[in-house]
């Protein structure tokens, strides 16, 4: 016998995508109006641009560049994310480690990582590695600081409760600290990846012939404006997809936060 029906999820996700769609339509409408007013080749109307985008998707050329950009983000995320989370959680739970780490964080975190682009390129060359390292630094900083702050504010009562059950340090980490910090970690990923995409664009304008950043600059140089806008749109969709992925992860991993 089920006493209560499970909570209905409601139309939340549907309404959300509905709102996103109407926002996209509004932007398209404004774009179209602006292109009519400006009436210059460097602001083509959305229709032909979208057609061009579809064409580039069909012939696969833009997907290649999207893949290159997404690949860089994924590599940076995979390499920088987990160690940053582990180090941040440890610093948040250990006063000694935090006392050692905090000065570095305070000195280095406020610096815009993109300022290191020339330094990184001098050290690691102009190739793929430099771009991955730069993006990795951004993700690392965001996740590290968020993890540390979240781990610090874990409720002491919950830690005590689990300790009273005979848990060791690792079990406290697994059952209390990590799940308590997960929402903050995902938020930091959202912020970090937003910045990462922006910086990636800049990094891809140097010494490479792949990636959406390069594609935009190249189209600009070729005076192929519809192509340029097609790449910009791809960049926007890419960002949207990244955010949607994180949202999805959050609904899946943090189901307990949805109140019935």
């Amino acid at each position: 016998m089920k006493a209560l029906a499970p909570p209905t999820q409601g139309p939340a996700p549907l309404a959300k995508s509905g709102r996103a769609l109407s926002a996209a339509l509004s932007i398209g409408l404004l774009w179209w109006l602006a292109s009519l007013l400006v009436a210059k080749p460097f602001l083509p109307p959305p229709g032909p641009t979208f057609a061009r985008l579809l064409g580039r998707i069909a012939d696969g050329s833009i997907l290649l560049h999207l893949g290159a950009s997404a690949g860089r983000i994924c590599v940076a995320l995979a390499v920088a994310g987990p160690p940053a989370a582990v180090l941040g959680l440890a610093a948040g739970r250990s006063r000694r480690l935090d006392a050692f780490l905090s000065p570095f964080i305070y000195l280095l975190h406020p610096l815009p990582k993109v300022a290191f682009l020339p330094v990184i390129m001098l050290f690691f060359g102009l190739g793929e590695a430099s771009k991955d390292i730069l993006i990795g630094l951004i993700v690392f900083g965001q996740v590290l600081v968020a993890a540390r702050d979240a781990a610090r504010s874990v409720e002491a009562d919950l830690v005590d409760a689990v300790l009273s059950l005979g848990a060791g340090r690792l079990q406290v980490l697994r059952h209390v600290v990590f799940p308590a910090c997960l929402p903050s970690l995902l938020t930091s990923l959202r912020v970090g990846l937003g910045t990462a995409i922006a910086v990636l664009f800049l990094a891809e304008t140097f010494a490479t012939q792949s990636g959406l950043g390069w594609y935009v600059m190249d189209a600009w140089a070729r005076v192929d404006y519809p192509d340029m806008y097609a790449a910009i749109m791809t960049l926007a969709f890419f960002g949207l997809a990244v955010y949607a992925c994180i949202d999805l992860l959050e609904t899946w991993l943090c189901a307990w936060r949805r109140k019935g």
């Binding site: 209560l4 006063r95 689990v162 059952h175």
Partner: protein, 288 residues
């Protein structure tokens, strides 16, 4: 049986979070309990003497700030004792014990675990397999009326259900000692009364020694067979002990307290007596 012999608890004030574990035990014992706080240290309890007989339900009553929670945490092995010792079944307590269950004020439930996940947590920590866990926890969830809500997260439970889940998790440990820290204080009166009766019911089915920390004289008088009164502040101390004749002797029926007992002469006189002792011990504490 649980026994306190001259127990003092001193702990560090600054940054209590995470330090509450203090697995380094008596490193900072330093002796001088009773002097109150020295730089950064707080003496919460001074030289507490108490006995909790096997299977008894003893209330630990006192105003807020008297150190009763610290004393309970020390009995749970969560706070180190800086002086004296705590004996469980004649053996000195060092750290957390598997058969000591603690029920925290807010239930101490993990918001990211379901009702079942929370109830099974002590067994997960012991490394028990899923089937074995279910076999032990199912009857408990059934007994406490939580089985239909096993997939719910705590945020969706009522206050009374959350507290029942705290009890369920404690029972999953198969404890011989149940330490409760103001378990009913955040509940409304009707829920509180039904949970108090629920506790007595649980106690009849499971053989446990219960220590109940409360600030409510009424709760101590209703539930307790014995009560220690605490007074003072930083350090708090045990000021008096009250014992009531064991009603169980008259048969199981008499043992079951109920609405009749709540409005009986005996209950009111218990409350009045407790209050009198309280006032005199508070006055005494004020003089010294």
């Amino acid at each position: 049986m649980l026994k306190l012999e001259g127990v003092s608890v001193i702990y560090r004030l600054a940054g209590k979070a995470g330090a509450g574990i203090a697995a380094n035990g008596k490193a900072h014992a330093a002796g001088k309990a009773g002097e109150g706080d020295r730089e950064g240290w707080l003496c919460a309890i001074s030289k507490a003497e108490a006995v909790f007989p096997e299977g008894s339900l003893t209330a630990l009553v006192g105003p807020s700030g008297c150190g009763k929670t610290s004393l309970l945490q020390a009995m749970a092995g969560l706070l180190p004792v800086s002086e004296g010792r705590i004996l469980v079944h004649g053996e000195e307590l060092h750290g957390v014990r598997e058969q000591s269950a603690v029920i925290f004020q807010g239930g101490g439930l993990l918001p990211w675990k379901t009702v079942r996940g929370n109830a099974e947590l002590p067994l997960v920590i012991r490394g028990m397999g899923a089937r074995e866990r279910a076999a032990r926890v199912d009857p408990i969830l059934e007994e406490l009326g939580l089985i239909d809500f096993e997939s719910f997260y705590p945020a969706r439970l009522s206050g009374g259900m959350r507290q029942r889940l705290g009890v369920a998790r404690a029972l999953a440990q198969q404890p011989d000692l149940l330490l409760m820290d103001e378990p009913f204080s955040s509940l409304d009166a009707l829920t509180r009364e039904s949970l108090q009766d629920g506790l007595l019911e649980v106690r009849r089915r499971h053989l446990v020694t219960v220590v109940l920390v409360t600030h409510s004289i009424e709760e101590a008088a209703y539930l307790g067979e014995r009560a220690y009164l605490m007074a003072g502040r930083a350090p708090g101390r045990i000021a008096a002990c009250v014992e009531w004749p064991v009603r169980e002797a008259k048969g199981a029926k008499a043992a079951l307290r109920n609405e009749a007992f709540r409005s009986s002469e005996a209950y009111f006189s218990r409350c009045a007596a407790l209050r009198r002792i309280f006032e005199s011990s508070v006055a005494e504490a004020g003089r010294t």
